[in-house]
């Protein structure tokens, strides 16, 4: 009997390790952002379609906002666009866009054709602000609180379901109840 204890122990240990791996596999490929709980990166960028204006991170302080990174070259961004429009209609939190490494005319045409869910869109032509936000593939969507702290990051195409289950619970109850 004694000689079964060691192999059994090793088997149990392996089973536990693998079970943890399987349980976490839906999140596999999603790399946790080190920005969660930290101050949102600062930036000052020209506003899309109105380069005489700039949008700066300081302008956004004092209220909740969603920061959505997109580009017209990004297929998944087209897939999530409808969901962004619906989220905007809920009017719980304004959506700020970051047009990442894009051509201005393409981006303007995209918003004219598909509708504009954004309160304002900052144009990051060189991709420097995206690096500061740790963006590695559009679309990525952040939730930022009034203190300017990044509360949550969602990687991949936004859906209404993701909004209701992952973003809304992180909002203060009064704001969440607006839906």
């Amino acid at each position: 009997m004694n000689r079964f204890i060691l192999p059994l122990g090793i088997f149990a240990l392996l089973a536990i390790v693998l079970a943890i791996g399987i349980k976490r596999s839906p999140e596999k490929g999603i790399i946790p952002s080190p920005l969660i709980g930290k101050a949102a990166p600062q930036f000052t960028l020209p506003v899309l379609a109105d380069s005489s204006r700039t949008l700066s991170s300081a302008d956004l302080k004092g209220r909740w906002y969603v920061f959505n990174v997109w580009g017209t070259w990004c297929y998944e961004c087209r897939a999530e666009h409808e969901a962004l429009l619906e989220i905007q209609k809920l009017a719980q939190v304004p959506i700020i866009g970051l047009d990442w490494k894009d051509e201005e005319p393409d981006a303007v045409r995209w918003l004219a054709e598909l509708g504009n869910p954004y309160e304002v869109v900052a144009a990051d032509r060189e991709g420097r602000t995206a690096i500061d936000w740790g963006v590695y593939g559009a679309p990525e969507t952040f939730l930022v609180d009034p203190q300017g702290v990044v509360v949550y990051k969602y990687v991949g195409a936004m859906t209404l379901e993701a909004w209701q289950t992952r973003f809304v619970p992180r909002l203060p109850p009064r704001r969440a109840a607006k839906s």
Binding site: I31, P32, I131, W133, V135, Y136, G137
Partner: protein, 148 residues
């Protein structure tokens, strides 16, 4: 016939050689020392979009942006660790192909040692058991014969 084979071989070699000089990243730093550090860093930073390539080898635009960042930081006199810290602050430990020792990566570093210890313990046990068997075996045979 022989000559054609030789010519073909030479041509193929030339093709292979020219392919290796045409790299993804043509960046040249002003000094050999900076060039060495630049190559070292771009080879140890992961391309987050492709995940199994270093940013030195990846043609995607984010990798190009990160190489530009490395180049600019080195030219500005930053140290290799400054560059690594900059990247980790934004993208997390995952961007380093050689992860640091931290609470979240300790298993990664400890696992080989732990496995080696387990292996050694098993090996010692087996050796001892076998040695015990040999000892039994060496007992005088005629005792058994007489008793049977």
């Amino acid at each position: 016939m022989m000559r054609r084979v030789v010519i073909h071989t030479v041509l193929v070699c030339l093709l292979v050689a020219s392919a290796s000089t045409y790299a993804v990243d043509p960046t040249e730093m002003p000094t050999p020392e900076l060039q060495r550090r630049y190559l070292g860093l771009t080879h140890e930073l992961r391309c987050m979009q492709c995940q199994n390539e270093a940013i030195s080898d990846s043609p995607v635009s984010l990798a190009a942006d990160l190489r530009r960042q490395v180049r600019e930081m080195l030219l500005a006199g930053k140290s290799d660790d400054d560059v690594r810290n900059y990247m980790v602050a934004r993208y997390g430990d995952f961007i380093l192909f050689r992860p640091r020792v931290a609470a979240s990566t300790i298993w990664l570093w400890a696992a080989p040692g732990v496995l080696l210890l387990i292996g050694a313990a098993v090996a010692v046990r087996i050796t001892k058991q076998r040695a015990a068997l040999v000892a039994q075996d060496n007992e005088p045979v005629d005792e058994d014969i007489r008793s049977s």
